[in-house]
Subunit: 258 residues, 2 copies
Amino acid sequence: MKFMNQLSIVKVGGKIVESLNLLQTFLKDFARISGFKILIHGGGTTATQIAEKLGIESQMVDGRRITDPETLKVVTMVYAGLVNKNIVAQLQAINLDAVGLTGADMNLMFAAKRPVGQVDYGWVGDIREVNAPALKYLLEQNYLPVLAPITHDGKGQLLNTNADTIACEIAKALAYDFNVRLIYCFEKKGVLHDEKDENSVIPNLNKEQFLQYKEDGIIHAGMIPKLDNAFGAIAAGVKEVIITRASDIHSGNGTYIK
Amino acid sequence: MKFMNQLSIVKVGGKIVESLNLLQTFLKDFARISGFKILIHGGGTTATQIAEKLGIESQMVDGRRITDPETLKVVTMVYAGLVNKNIVAQLQAINLDAVGLTGADMNLMFAAKRPVGQVDYGWVGDIREVNAPALKYLLEQNYLPVLAPITHDGKGQLLNTNADTIACEIAKALAYDFNVRLIYCFEKKGVLHDEKDENSVIPNLNKEQFLQYKEDGIIHAGMIPKLDNAFGAIAAGVKEVIITRASDIHSGNGTYIK
């Protein structure tokens, strides 16, 4: 059996990236994860707020932002600029040698504009290829990649890509070279058995159980694409997917998917 | 004598980074420069425009922006996000494997907040150390660093640093390992003998001539810090500094400083 190093890929978003205090606390916890690490972040509501101030209306369909040219500018500014560089500076302050990147940098994530179907998502990119050798290379040089949810099409066009999906695709692409653990930091404690009961976390979930829960209507709505992603990652060789609260990444609490 | 590779460090700003057409034309010229390359960009007037739209007043003293906390957010968004990532995507489109970075990334440029003197410049950073090994390393891996004029203080604080100064400091730091040529792309054809005559470019300038021109009042105002930087670079081992128009980088026109 090939020896493979441990790699934790952590996706964080929401309130954590909007509050300096929450971010600093989270990054200290994140720093304590042993082995290689990659951090992937969303932009929280900052992009929406900045867009509003600039007089750009944010259109959402099924929780996904419609990315018109003006919105693309805003998400590029907020995700790749403000949020990404603040995270990098905070990581440097605790001696983690972070490097903040988008999919255009080093051609890390090559994407295709989503075809117009029933919905025209605008400048949204679906990942076609992850540059695993470049990421592996950075990790081996002890850099900590911090990835913003912006990709490119190789023809000069930046694209907006969902951060959850990026985390999943990066995990899959690196599963050949590392023992990958994918951690989704979530606002809730994990996947809930009863939506109204914060403490009804399903501690372990396999594919069979997921399909059953889905059939029974226990797991639904926004959780389904997240879990489809998770099981897709497992099928591609990712060792474990964890859905938990940012404050719980060392606690063993949350939903563990294998 | 130690063999050293050729490295061209090009600083571009102003209108070039604000117009996609001008940028694409410039980047094609830039791509034709042989040897190793680093691109350093300013933000043009986009930061001022975005700040205005967000209701943030841009205060300038002697051509330098006063960086209050809100302005720092804007320059981080515009320089490190919008401008940097668009340049990177355009370079990838012409098969240059660019990586867009600030001083916080890989701890490339460590700076100290400028002390408050007669003017409080706010969150402005003066470079204390350039991480030459990290830049050298990227170059040797055939990556093209694209640097935004944002630095950090190592304690989590991002800082706004003049792009001309960054170009100069990077050139000095890499002069031990490369034959460095520093090219300042400028709105004018070069250093002018007569400000009112666009064609009165001084083709060659050495330190003695510079001091004489300065004494005679021929070179003054905004050109003086630029040339002080240039002669500082030469003194630190940079082989040549060229001040020229972006469209003239292959023409041999401009002011050549040795």
